[in-house]
């Protein structure tokens, strides 16, 4: 007894969303490089916006993949995306300024191999499996890269593994309080894993509409951004972190209100403290 998953009629084709998400995410993550050029860390929030772009793209990919009925639930697609993405992303941080591009390429390779394994060796035989898993791995890598950049201000291995600790007023370098040393990447990992599958999973059903799903994807992205902004207080200057938090909150409030409006539009009824509406069974 499982929920029948039906692909709804899409207004915007998947490839368009792919293009917008991919380009938007890369551009936003590269915009954080302004931090290095200007010497401030004010532009860290672009990393979070990059992750939001990637999440919207990911929602469309998961929808396409799961509409074929993969047999297990939707959440596992998110897990495999982030699992392969985090490994690819950490390897890519070695490449300095080419990190985002390297992340895309390495994650794509990983996704293609895993997709091939799932489709041909495990005999799942879903037409879009290989491409979808490749996309998901890239999306996973971009999400974590975006959130890591938003937290620390930079996307190289050196900055991710350096942190400062203040003892008696003296700031010292410490690896324990760095982004990697503290394991904070785990937060970005889980935020991405749930956020990437939630829009499709939560909007599952025959009356699914694409604009509502994508709005939910943006909402999940901004919500995750709020958490990352709070954590970034430990890494970047207070002003920049506040700025990032403000942008995240504004984005979240807007998308959340919009999502409620769209739900009101789509729902069969919008009742307050009313009885069960019995249909003529």
């Amino acid at each position: 007894m499982s929920v029948k998953i039906e692909a709804s009629h899409d207004g915007i084709p998947h490839n368009t969303i792919l293009g917008i998400g991919f380009v938007g995410s890369l551009v936003c993550i590269y915009l954080t490089y302004l931090n290095v050029i200007t010497g401030l860390d004010l532009f860290s929030f672009f990393g979070g916006l990059g992750a939001v772009f990637a999440l919207v793209w990911g929602t469309s990919t998961i929808k396409k993949l799961c509409s074929y009925g993969i047999g297990t639930g939707v959440p596992s697609a998110g897990m495999i995306a982030l699992g392969s993405g985090v490994i690819a992303m950490l390897l890519a941080t070695k490449f300095g300024i080419a990190t985002p591009i390297a992340a895309v390429i390495i994650a794509a390779i990983a996704g293609l191999v895993i997709g091939f394994l799932a489709n041909n060796v495990l005999n799942m035989n879903i037409p879009v499996m290989v491409q979808s898993l490749a996309e998901l791995a890239v999306i996973g890598a971009l999400i974590i890269l975006g959130f890591a950049t938003m937290t620390t201000g930079d996307f190289t291995l050196a900055s991710l593994s350096s942190g400062t600790i203040t003892i008696f007023g003296f700031a010292m370098n410490s690896y324990t309080t760095s982004y990697l040393g503290g394991g904070v990447i785990a937060v970005a990992f889980m935020l991405g894993a749930i956020a990437i599958q939630h829009p499709f999973n939560a909007a599952l059903g025959p009356s699914n509409t694409q604009d509502r799903t994508l709005m939910l994807a943006a909402e999940c992205g901004f919500l995750s951004m709020i958490m990352i902004a709070v954590i970034s207080f430990a890494f970047i200057s207070v002003g920049s972190a506040l700025f990032g938090l403000l942008i995240a909150i504004i984005g979240w409030v807007y998308t959340y209100v919009q999502f409620i409006e769209l739900s009101k539009r789509d729902a069969a009824g919008w009742l307050d403290a009313k009885m069960i509406v019995e249909t003529e069974a």
Partner: protein, 270 residues
């Protein structure tokens, strides 16, 4: 599985191992790195094989319609395996074999307690005895199953074979996850000091965290691939679906080889 796919998979596996070997020959990583790659492949295979033992019933189990635990395959296995990695990481300073033992026992203990409590719920709270839907007699205890199955269902609860399967799955999952973690930890503590110009003690937090997050990521990839192989629910080692295990083993070996290679390449000065 189709022969051509199997062939390509084996070729990929050899390619990845070959790249690792090439790096060793060129002095870019020590023999330790190559051993770690092999260890990671073995760890991934153990995880994939172990997950097939875990009895998962999915949504029907939550209504007493199917035997098994009423959770998803990948995440239940992840819970057991990660608890195993927790135990293994704690015992890491005491040596590889102790850590592996601690990891295996950690995963097995979580499954043992959880499976027992599942049966407590079914028996004492719902008044339903355990029964399997796939076999007539429990392979271990010889208990007959069909007459203990309520009408209109496929079985319910955790018959003893499923319980043992769950514990074995937890043991193998914890073992595999800890193996991956220990191998990566060894490589990182060996190579990070030179890479970051710091002492081994100082970079320890980074090595532990990176090894930990990689172990978690690889665990999830292997568990999800296995979940795809099982397609949802499995009663345990006596389930006919268990025979599908070999193709998951091959898939997991290749996936672990690739991910392990990527994890090791981080500390290779390119």
């Amino acid at each position: 599985m189709p022969k051509s796919a199997l062939g390509i998979a084996i070729v990929l596996l050899l390619v990845f191992i070959g790249i690792g070997y090439y790096l060793v020959m060129n002095g870019m990583i020590g023999m330790l790195g190559f051993e770690a790659l092999i260890g990671i492949i073995i760890g991934g295979v153990l995880i994939a094989f172990g997950v097939h033992f875990v009895p998962v019933g999915g949504a029907p189990a939550a209504m007493g319609q199917a035997p098994g635990i009423a959770t998803g395959v990948a995440m239940l296995a992840a819970g057991a395996g990660l608890a195993g990695v927790f135990g293994g990481a704690w015992a890491a300073p005491l040596g590889l074999w102790v850590a592996l033992g601690a990891g295996a026992v950690g995963g097995g203990l979580l499954m043992a307690i959880t499976c027992m409590m599942v049966n407590v719920t079914y028996v004492f709270a719902m008044g339903i005895p355990a029964a399997s839907g796939k076999v007539d007699k429990d392979p271990i205890t010889g208990d007959s199953q069909p007459e203990y199955k309520s009408q209109g269902t496929e079985g319910h609860g955790l018959p003893f074979i499923s319980y043992v399967g769950g514990v074995i799955g937890g043991i193998l999952g914890g073992l595999g996850g800890t193996l991956i973690y220990m191998q990566l930890l060894a490589v990182y503590t060996d190579m990070l000091p030179a890479l970051m110009n710091a002492s081994a003690d100082q970079i320890m937090p980074i090595a532990i965290s990176m090894a930990g997050i990689f172990a978690i990521g690889m665990f999830l990839v292997n568990a999800v691939l296995t979940a795809y192989n099982i397609t949802g629910t499995i009663e345990g080692p006596h389930d006919p679906k268990f025979k599908r295990a070999p193709r998951a083993v091959v898939a997991s070996a290749v996936a672990s080889a690739l991910c392990g290679l990527m994890a090791i390449l981080i500390v290779v000065p390119l």
